[in-house]
Amino acid sequence: MSFYPYLVAVWLLVVGAFGIVRSRNLIHAILCLSVSQSGTYVLLLAVGYQWHAKPPVFGEPATHPTAKVVDPVVQAMTLTDIVVSATVTALLLALATQIHKRHGTLDPDELRQLKG
């Protein structure tokens, strides 16, 4: 596997964090958080990937137990990660709608009640 997926993974993590830093809207910030998390998907899948390998499904005549397959563990981890992400994103978006209802704004620069 080449080096590029790892660069992409780190880039996504950093650019997502940068997006939150610069964000003027909490919905945007939450989506930036999802962008950051996409970095972890790319990293995990890149770790388990092999060129010319088959999907990790054994028992078919096509896939002998000794055949080269991509790593199923990281794929399972990525799925778990996606589930976690869905939960957290949904929860944060729900909080964002409440913030909009109560404050009338989603701009973090105008939400200055928690200070000091």
Partner: protein, 599 residues
């Protein structure tokens, strides 16, 4: 037994959601408390068993053959089981306190508390690094929801948002570290990782993975500069939830970081490098927390900063990377949890009675608070490490560990920080409950974020509120008084730092039994240093109460001191973007500290 400790709260939570509408509130309360009590029993049994060797559970019976395994393992040593027991006990007391405190008719709150408990139990008991991430996020998601639970309250949802974004970002950074470790070793279990890394030379990839894991866990552990979310979340979350945040969730973050270090990395990354990084950042955390604590007048926010200061002390004690340091931190964490939880519950009582916990607004108004008039000063002194509270014993052992490692500034730091945080609590108690000092000036407002009172003002303190407070303070006292606590902590700490034993017992079922220590306890210097910090705390409180007339005559002195303080306060801006910037900066700082050549 260990899987039950995770599964039972989840099942009870599901049950509560199912029967929520059909049962009265009292039944829900009893059901939830019973679920948490079951966890107390499970974790106490695990703790008892683990004293004679770690409790190893291979889920679904996928045991290793010749040290090779495809299964997922739970490895429970006394420290892990102990913090799991602490979590379960605090949840029970918080739920009992909530009987009269939380007024909603529905069971969402109880359900979230139990899910939170399940996350904490899983995080403490697992021996698998990816499981740690999953449970980290489970407790995170439950905690964000609990923080933002009062959706009518504007600051509550905002605090939940800041908390959620920072902690999730931390979790993703930790997951990147997990991915890198897996890429390097092909393993996820801590015992297998320890075995794979035992003979690896130090490499940049390993350092990067370590830094990411530490940063991720220490975001929850509120180490500076990752600590900003903590005060916002504590100020707005319901008081019984703060008990869990300060008492056990934040220490669990620290526990996770050091568990991973001791199980997987002790030979892969040079010990002086790691120690230096943690000592440096621990000192910064302690100082920032103590200074900000003195600056607060919202009582809950003040307690939150005191937690940050104490977490700094825990990180210093654990960062010594000796078993004595671990033993001191363990005792300190348990007794701090008792004292801090009791103080948060007192804040809850004040809020339920007077509708605010602002020091200036309540100046002299709480003279009729009954029991609290005595308990709050006691809590302040216990936080300032007055012997024979367990906080003083933990402080003494940590100080001795620091001096033994050649860091003579450690006792001074511990005394100063406990005096500042205890003094701040005593100051608030003196002004609120006894009306000491001049009345506050109008318009000197600086509060930010407050929990809102539920329903009617509380007339008298019901037993379900008083008993948890007394139990918690009594627990903190018992840790200091009971004989054998020191020896037990020392033995547990030796097992915690025994990396070889950890992997050998998990993978091969064999581990050399460590020689047990039987003595230990108070020393004269420890008692004197405890009395010193309690005395200094009284001084800090007195200065806080009566300083205004003095500084009135020296305005320039005041200005000179105020400027750096106001800069520090400006940094705690409540802006989520700023917090993320600090998180990235902290990640870089941790990486830098670990990559610098050792002395």
């Amino acid at each position: 037994m260990a899987p039950l400790a995770v599964a039972v709260p989840i099942m009870v939570a599901a049950l509560i959601i199912m029967v929520d509408r059909r049962l009265p509130r009292l039944a829900i309360d009893l059901l939830a408390t019973a679920g948490a009590l079951a966890d107390v029993v499970f974790t106490a049994l695990i703790l008892h068993q683990s004293a004679s060797g770690r409790v190893i559970t291979w889920s679904a019976g996928w045991k290793p053959v010749h040290g090779l395994s495809v299964g997922i393992v739970l490895v429970d040593d006394p420290i892990g089981a102990g913090i799991a027991l602490l979590a379960a006990a605090l949840v029970v007391l918080a739920l009992v306190f909530s009987w009269h405190y939380i007024e909603s008719e529905e069971g969402h709150y109880h359900c979230l508390m139990l899910l939170f408990l399940a996350g904490m139990e899983g995080f403490a008991l697992t021996g698998d690094i990816f499981d740690m991430f999953v449970f980290f996020e489970l407790m995170g998601a439950a905690a964000y929801a609990l923080t933002g639970m009062k959706i009518e309250d504007p600051t509550s949802v905002q605090g939940g948002m800041n908390f959620g974004i920072i902690n999730s970002l931390g979790a993703y950074i930790a997951l990147m570290g997990v991915g890198l470790l897996y890429a390097k070793t092909g393993q996820l279990g801590l015992p297998q990782l320890g075995r794979a890394l035992a003979h690896q030379p130090r490499s940049e990839l390993l350092v990067a993975a370590f830094v990411m894991l530490m940063a991720g866990f220490l975001v929850k552990g509120a180490m500076a500069p990752f600590h900003f979310w903590l005060a916002d979340a504590h100020a707005v979350a319901p008081s019984p939830v703060c008990v869990l945040f300060s008492g056990v969730m934040v220490p669990l973050g620290v526990y996770g970081a050091f568990r991973v270090y001791w199980a997987a990395f002790p030979t892969a990354i040079a010990r002086p490098d790691v120690s230096r990084a943690f000592l440096a950042l621990g000192v910064v955390t302690a100082v920032v927390g103590a200074v900000m604590c003195l600056e607060q007048r919202n009582f809950k926010r003040l307690l939150a900063y005191s937690t940050i200061a104490h977490v700094g002390l825990f990180i210093v004690a654990l960062g010594l990377l000796t078993s004595e340091g671990v033993a001191g931190a363990a005792i300190y964490i348990v007794s701090h949890a008792g004292v801090k939880a009791a103080l948060f519950l007192m804040a809850g009582v004040l809020l339920a009675r007077y509708g605010t916990v602002d020091e200036a607004e309540l100046h002299g108004r709480c003279g009729d608070a009954g029991l609290l008039r005595w308990l709050m000063p006691v809590g302040g002194l216990a936080l300032a490490c007055l012997p024979p509270f367990g906080t003083a014993l933990g402080k003494e052992i940590s100080e001795d560990a620091g001096s033994a490692a050649g860091y003579l500034w450690v006792p001074a730091l511990f005394v100063a920080v406990s005096a500042c945080t205890g003094g701040a609590v005593l100051r608030v108690a003196g002004r609120m409950l006894f009306g000491l000092g001049p009345p506050p000036e109008e318009g000197a407002g600086q509060t930010s974020g407050d929990e809102e009172r539920e329903g009617e003002p509380l007339r008298r303190i019901p037993a379900t509120m008083a008993v948890p407070i007394l139990t918690l303070l009594g627990g903190a006292l018992a840790v200091g008084i009971l004989p054998g606590v020191h020896a037990a902590a020392e033995n547990a700490a030796r097992i915690f730092v025994d990396s070889g034993g950890y992997r050998n017992q998990a993978l091969f079922g064999t581990a050399a039994r460590l020689p047990a220590v039987h003595e230990g306890g108070w020393s004269l210097s420890g008692v004197l240093l405890g009395l010193l910090s309690a005395g200094l705390a009284l001084g800090v409180a007195a200065v806080g109460i009566w300083s205004r007339p003095i500084t009135h005559h020296f305005p320039r002195l005041l200005d000179w001191g105020r400027r750096p303080l106001s800069v520090l306060r400006e940094l705690h801006s409540g802006h989520v973007g700023d917090y993320v910037a600090w998180l990235m900066l902290g990640l870089a700082a941790l990486g830098g500290l670990l990559s610098l050549p050792a002395r």
